[in-house]
Symmetry: C2
Subunit: 103 residues, 2 copies
């Protein structure tokens, strides 16, 4: 992810999947591809063990809202609720401070 | 994690480990145990694939700062920089909105 100037916004998405997740991985890849093209998108980081954590970074709350309303994304959200997720939590947070360490 | 009232704070810690990580897992467990006892600690979620993501949640910036200064934690941070991490990034963010879905 490129360097950004604070403040910017983070969407912290944490989720627990069901056992059967046919089509989930493909949809995830497609959403990544699509998110990267959105206005105000700054980057994304993702990992899953017991819990899945995806944090995406955005210029503004308006950009996040627009991405939420995107029609293909809206369909993915609907599928997520109906098919793949046991539970999830979304937190929208304003990044105020950042600090980086590189060897 | 129990329900919290916004706003509260998230520390988004993303990291890339080196190949050799002797002692890392034990230190991680100890830091989890210790963090949970700190004033203002609300919860933590963690997953690692290519990147490790740990998000901890706190009542206030003052609580986060106090945890940062904790002497045992300070030693772990020093070890992290010198021994285990190739790189890491810390973002401190104010959680303004949260939304939960449960089946």
């Amino acid at each position: 992810m490129k360097n950004n100037f604070t403040p910017y916004y983070a969407v912290i998405f944490t989720s627990i999947l069901k056992e059967e997740i046919n089509g989930y991985s493909e949809m995830g890849d497609r959403m990544m591809e699509l998110a990267k093209k959105q206005k105000g998108f700054l980057g994304v980081e993702s990992a899953r063990e017991d819990v899945g954590i995806t944090v995406s970074y955005w210029n503004s709350l308006a950009d996040i809202d627009k991405w939420k309303q995107n029609s293909e994304h809206a369909l993915a959200q609907k599928m997520g609720k109906e098919v793949w997720y046991k539970s999830f939590k979304i937190r929208i947070a304003k990044v105020e401070i950042e600090y980086e360490f590189k060897k």
